[in-house]
């Protein structure tokens, strides 16, 4: 290889490296709609200590009195808009000893909106954010302020005779409950103790959801 050829390939390689670095710097400084990953907090391993955390028997209120402090504690933004960049819905069912426990309306709404919230008592969870991020079942319960761990929901903690089970779209889930990512049209059934007559596996989401 001649000296000129070496110079050419050396410069060419340097050009590629410089271009790549410049691209990375540009993307970091200028996040776009499609790549804007928010810096929401990671799902807590244990919600103990969250302000206003309910460890009582069901039913639970929307628990909005202390939501602002909980949002701060889990680094969740308080929005003054309905975000459209991420717009998906799930449905959550909770059963305690075979009985359905209502999921209240207006979880995550208190003058501001949490990116994860409810509007009504259908169990539909709305994820509406002006950015893309990984929201989890743990985030939802922490925003709500109801204790939710691998073993406990509210005051109900698992025992040999009364396990706490999570079903996703009708299938028993064996992983970490709190880090389950909220995905479009997933149906969750959180079941403590006696099984209900049937485990919900589908939900008729309204048009446009």
């Amino acid at each position: 290889m001649s000296r000129n050829e070496k110079l050419f390939w050396g410069t060419f390689t340097a050009l590629i490296v410089v271009g790549f670095v410049a691209a990375v710097v540009y993307r970091v400084k200028n996040p776009t709609v499609s790549s804007n990953i928010s810096t929401i907090g990671a799902t807590l391993a244990d919600p103990a200590g969250l302000p206003g955390l309910l460890t009582s028997n069901a039913p639970w209120t929307s628990n909005s009195e202390t939501i602002s402090e909980r949002m701060d504690a889990i680094s969740m933004p308080k929005l003054s808009m309905e975000g459209a960049v991420m717009h998906i819905h799930q449905q959550l069912n909770i059963f305690v000893d075979g009985a359905n426990v209502p999921v209240p309306a207006n979880i995550g709404i208190a003058g501001f909106f949490s990116p994860v919230h409810t509007h009504d008592t259908t169990g539909v969870v709305h994820v509406e954010a002006p950015f893309v991020a990984k929201f989890t079942l743990g985030h939802f319960f922490d925003i709500w302020g109801v204790r939710f761990t691998q073993d406990c929901i509210g005051s109900y903690c698992a025992s040999e005779s009364k396990p706490l089970r999570l079903y996703i779209n009708g299938t028993l889930f064996s992983g970490d409950y709190r880090t389950v990512e909220l995905k479009a049209h997933d149906v969750y059934a959180l079941v403590y103790g006696t099984l209900p007559q049937s485990i919900p596996s589908t939900f008729a989401f309204p048009a446009g959801y």
């Binding site: 003054s80 808009m81 309905e82 509007h119 509406e128 048009a207």
Partner: protein, 237 residues
């Protein structure tokens, strides 16, 4: 002639490779820097403050779009909304009324209503009806719009489908609701295209949800306090 039979020696361009590559590298790096600088500050926050955005109201399409105020007002506020959005309701019935009194009614500003229908099927239904009301009864459009936001309930809470919007439209003085209904039916495809174009335009400017605003060269993300709007407007007067 003998010299014609001798092939000309091939030109050696290899000594140009290095300067060419350096120039090319400079162009590429310069392009990144230029684009990067032009985009600085263009990303809206998540509804938490007025960012200095690289937008310009002059680039927003306003012809044929519903508005209130003096068409030649010195300030324009473009507003992207969804009829199902609670923050839009809050803005429309509170902040916007104050802005209307202070700036629209005094001829200083016009508010241009852009669609950003995304929350549910009812959002699109309402937006379509809004277009038809504007086309047929522009003088009653604002009253109709206010009535729509006053009637807003929870998503899929009962209000927002066509029968309920028809009933509401009948209650607004000066509007022939049957004519609006017929207009909706006949112009559906055209209206849907316009509504979609509004949303795409907003997205291209960095509107990432509702409500979203552009005035002057400022993007306002969300239903921010009145003072934030006033500061953005006053800076143009």
């Amino acid at each position: 002639m003998p010299e014609n039979n001798v092939p000309a020696p091939a030109r050696d361009y290899s000594n140009l490779y290095t300067p060419m590559a350096i120039v090319l590298a400079g162009v590429v790096i310069g392009a990144f820097v230029m684009v990067g600088l032009s985009k600085m500050g263009a990303t809206a926050g998540a509804g938490g403050g007025v960012p200095t955005a690289k937008v310009d109201i002059a680039d927003v399409k306003v012809d044929g779009i519903p508005f209130i105020g003096n068409a030649d007002a010195p300030v324009t506020l473009a507003y992207w909304s969804d009829y199902q959005c609670p923050f839009c309701q809050q803005y429309e019935l509170d902040t916007m009324m104050d802005l209307k009194t202070a700036y629209v009614d005094t001829g200083k500003m016009k508010i241009v209503f852009k669609d950003y229908a995304f929350l549910s099927e009812d959002s699109t239904t309402a937006a379509v009806w809004g277009r038809a009301v504007w086309d047929l009864f522009p003088a009653q459009y604002f009253a109709w719009r206010v009535a729509m936001y006053e009637a807003q309930d929870e998503e899929h809470g009962g209000f927002g489908n066509e029968p309920t919007i028809l009933a509401l439209t009948k209650s607004v003085a000066g509007i022939n609701a049957s004519a609006v209904q017929a207009r909706v039916a006949s112009n559906m495809e055209q209206y849907l295209a316009l509504i979609d174009a509004d949303r795409q335009e907003g997205t291209s400017f960095g509107v990432q949800g509702t409500p979203g605003f552009i005035t002057g060269k400022i993007l306002i993300p969300g239903s921010l306090p009145l003072a934030e709007f006033k500061a953005a407007i006053d800076s143009q007067l």
